[in-house]
Symmetry: C2
DNA sequence: ATAGGCATGTAAGCAGTTACATGATTTA
DNA sequence: TAAATCATGTAACTGCTTACATGCCTAT
């Protein structure tokens, strides 16, 4: 029981369909919660059967109809209970860092390539989050918005996302550079 | 099949027992891989049965005996194959950030308390990682070590850990401060 | 036409979590 | 004598991942 609260929190930003949620978890909320598309459909069905979200059909022209979901009163209650409980530790699993940790016994070339790719992804996400910040705060500057804005929750998590992606980008670039220089040095020694 | 590679990578830093691994995954490697103690015993048994690690008993005085594990040639091969494959995306799940995202509809007080506690934990981990860096590089300065040191993998992941914990600490403190100031302002309005 | 985006699921299998269980030794 | 640390597991359950399945509409 963990994804449910992330879904409820995401739905507070406005009702959305399962498909839209997959997009949100792919970018907007991805800085603090990873979830696969199939999980979201399953979780929404569960939440609806428990009365924590309510769904209704939206008819669209030119596109298939969709069912959008809203958090119910009971859903808010669930979130409130969750927020008062002690938080679970941050869960992080980074496939790429495992490679870096073991890199001294490995071929460095593919790891370097992977680090560069990850750095680019992080840079792209950072740019996206920074745009989101501007959008969220409207015509206020950051300080005023944090003081008087209506909803700061999403803004704060987005700030967290910026911090995270910036560090990922820089760490990947630094690591790639270090490994490349060492590889060049090793080649010179061998020749 | 994912934890296995993290375990193999951790064992490259030196043979250890299941119990010692639980300590390593609780601190040293925790910046890029979370794993519960029970997982590690199970995974070690599996890895041993597949010949990727080899265990032998170490007799101790004053303490129960333990079985320590080393990565085998086959284990290195497994790691090499893993490193060449495309990495899975970073998996992150942060219970506390979910609360922050939803905080505008919640009691802010417990969330603020949780943010402060998390900030302290992050500060403690940061201090630990910084000590580890000094220990790893011995009497070299960072630049020389990154260029000519024997094993840079663990040093690079440790640098990543520092970056991560520093940002977590600062984000938690910034968020807590923002929420506290808003709460104070709201109280004044009500009175 | 065909590729891509929109839209929603099911089913099987694997990985991870929670709770339980045991026992020795050291420190307060 | 109680709590903490060292040491290693099992069993039941839940949650997550991977693969499969379907179908419409739009843009190229």
């Amino acid at each position: 029981m963990a994804l449910r609260h992330a879904v409820l929190a995401a739905l507070l930003d406005g009702e959305s369909s399962g498909y839209q949620l997959t997009k949100i978890f792919d970018v907007g909320v991805s800085n603090f919660w990873y979830a696969a598309p199939q999980q979201l459909y399953a979780e929404l069905a569960k939440l609806e059967s428990e009365g924590l979200v309510a769904g209704h059909v939206v008819v669209q022209q030119g596109r298939p109809n969709k069912r959008v979901f809203t958090v119910t009163e009971a859903g808010i209650g669930e979130l409130a209970a969750f927020a008062a409980a002690p938080p679970k530790p941050l869960l992080i699993r980074d496939d790429l860092a495992v490679r870096v940790h073991a890199v001294d016994l490995l071929e460095p070339a593919p790891v370097i390539a992977q680090l560069r790719e990850r750095a680019e992804e992080a840079a792209a996400k950072l740019a996206l989050f920074e745009k989101m910040l501007v959008h969220l705060r409207g015509d206020l500057d950051e300080e005023s918005f944090l003081r008087h804005g209506e909803r700061v929750g999403p803004y704060l998590t987005c700030l967290g996302g910026c911090r995270l992606e910036r560090e990922i980008r820089d760490w990947c670039l630094q690591s790639a550079r270090t490994l490349r220089e060492r590889a060049a040095h090793t080649r010179r020694e061998l020749s």
